[in-house]
């Protein structure tokens, strides 16, 4: 079940997007997200959608793969859509008792849904084309200037690396505990929602304990390998900006200008 969520997954490849510096991709994604909130009308989304589609094409990540990630957040999108549909005042199109749909509501609902879809696809595209380890390295480098004001950039990056490393280990551990409980007659499948949630407790507690044990083992192993914080530490993989990153930066600027200009288009779509 957890394996179906594409948000945060990596799709191996060697396209121009994959080869970009992680920092470029992080910043570009941030600008893209901000741009989505600058957008005032559907022209802006048309530009953002076209840009996104172009990047997907270049990245060679199958569109089907990307849309599969959307199904996991379908409920959120549907909920946002319905709330906006019914809650906005304006010229009434349809009414049933206290429920009413207005023209403005329909507009707003589609607007918000498109924004969410573009947001999710855009940010999942970043993780799909960047190795988790490059992503954490990039974040560490980007946060470095903030370490002067006390942001523990190295620690945050290391925590993310370790978290990523131990996801499969903890999943295996969970599997083992579930099987052990089932072997002794535990029932996780029948009963109503509350009952099933309660049945999870005997899984969560041993999992919690074993994750502490793993943490202790790992801490010892790290100490034995001379880990003593981020100061005086070097990195094997030096990340550097290349020509591709300059081109990408240029394209992002063009995109941002286009989005800002789109606010002044008054022709309805």
């Amino acid at each position: 079940m957890i394996r179906d969520i594409t948000l945060g997954q990596y799709y191996p490849g060697s396209s121009a997007v994959h080869r970009l510096d992680a920092r470029t991709k992080i910043i570009a994604t941030l600008i893209y997200i901000v741009a989505l909130f600058v957008v005032k009308n559907f022209w802006g989304f048309l530009i953002a959608g076209a840009a996104l589609f172009a990047v997907i094409e270049v990245s060679k990540v199958p569109v089907k793969f990307i849309f599969r990630g959307l199904t996991a957040v379908f409920m959120i999108i549907a909920f946002t859509f319905l709330i906006n549909l019914f809650m906005v005042d304006g010229r009434v199109l349809w009414q049933w008792k206290f429920l009413s749909i207005t023209e403005e509501g329909v507009n707003r609902a589609f607007f918000m849904a498109v924004r969410l879809v573009l947001l999710i696809i855009g940010s999942s595209l970043m993780t799909l084309t960047t190795k988790p380890i490059e992503l954490t390295d990039g974040l560490e480098k980007l946060m470095k200037p903030f370490s002067k004001i006390g942001v523990p950039s190295h620690e945050i990056a290391l925590m993310m690396t370790i978290a990523l490393r131990f996801i499969p280990t903890l999943m295996e551990e969970t599997d083992k505990i579930i099987k052990a409980q089932q072997a002794r007659g535990a029932d996780f499948e029948s009963g109503n929602l509350i009952r099933r949630a309660k049945a999870l407790i005997p899984i969560l507690i041993p999992l919690f304990i074993s994750s502490f044990r793993i943490a202790q083992d790992l801490a010892l192993a790290m100490e034995a390998r001379c880990y003593h914080g981020g100061s005086g530490r070097t990195r094997m993989n030096q990340i550097r900006f290349h020509r591709g990153d300059a081109i990408a930066a240029l394209l992002v600027i063009v995109f941002l200008v286009a989005i800002v200009l789109s606010r002044f288009i008054n022709v309805p779509i």
């Binding site: 490393r165 790992l218 192993a221 790290m222 390998r225 001379c226 880990y227 070097t234 094997m236």
Partner: protein, 275 residues
């Protein structure tokens, strides 16, 4: 002067009550003294709770002596100034292959130790490639750690220690959680590292692994029971039983067949039977 000198080492773990006050203490090591020469292969054996893992953790300052001292190349592990120098010279490989890898990518994990030492990136790359070749995992260098078998993960952990270019590696029951194939490959690597001049301290409860060592140290309830060559140790059935250990299968078979006491390996045993 020996490379590692353990002098009258006492290590106590305090027990705490619910309020966090120490109520009693348990002696895990009780007056252990031994020397480990550079380039030697020392096995440490003993029952569960004999203090062998505790001893291992004292050798690189993960645990500090309550009394007595541990010195590595003349530096005391209790000396804060030298602790990182000691740990870079005495590497360590632990029992659980899953819980000692830091990074999800094989080569990034091997690079973790050298990165902590602040070595130049090009040199780290060279060391990582070297270490991975040494353990036969070079072709898996950009694989995910979770895709590997237990034995392969343990080889990565060994590469992680080797990449720091230590003089000595302490192995704390490295094969305990592996299948026979993984155990064999790990033992072969350990022997090869030793033949290249790296001092090996192998904590184990497999007596056939202790047979490979130059010297076997036997611990019982935190005390040094014996410190002798495998040949001498396994000639003394009384002592082996007293330590709560078993005879290695080869020796057991040799003695039951009434063969010559100089036979120490499977190959020699087979030869003696065929003659």
């Amino acid at each position: 002067m020996a490379f590692i000198e353990v002098k009258n080492l006492i290590l106590e773990f305090a027990k705490y009550d619910d309020a966090g006050k120490p109520v009693s203490s348990k002696r895990a090591l009780d007056g252990v003294s031994l020397d480990i020469e550079k380039g030697s292969f020392v096995a440490v054996v003993g029952m569960n709770g004999s203090g062998k893992s505790t001893l291992a953790k004292c050798l690189n300052g993960l645990l500090l002596p309550t009394e007595g001292s541990v010195t590595v190349d003349g530096m005391s592990t209790a000396d804060d100034e030298h602790i990182w120098d000691i740990r870079s010279r005495v590497g360590m490989v632990f029992q659980n292959p899953d819980n000692q890898l830091v990074s999800s990518i094989v080569e990034d994990d091997v690079a973790f130790g050298p990165e902590n030492l602040g070595i130049e990136p090009d040199e780290i790359r060279r060391r990582v490639d070297d270490a991975l070749r040494k353990v036969g995992m070079y072709d898996k260098k950009d694989k995910g750690a979770h895709m590997l078998s237990g034995g392969q993960k343990q080889r990565i952990a060994i590469a992680g220690a080797v990449a720091m270019r230590p003089d000595c590696i302490v192995f704390d029951e490295p094969t305990a959680m592996l299948d026979p194939a993984g155990r064999k490959s790990v033992m072969e690597i350990i022997e090869e590292l030793n033949s290249e001049g790296i001092t090996v301290v192998l904590i184990t409860h497999f007596m056939e692994e202790a047979l490979e060592a130059d010297r076997v140290i036997v611990l019982r309830t935190g005390q040094l029971l014996a410190d002798r060559s495998p040949k001498e140790l396994f000639a003394d059935a009384e002592l082996v039983r007293e330590a709560g250990l078993e005879m290695p299968p080869v020796i057991e078979l040799r003695d039951r067949l009434g063969l010559d006491k100089s036979i120490m390996s499977k190959d020699e045993l087979v030869d003696a039977c065929l003659l």
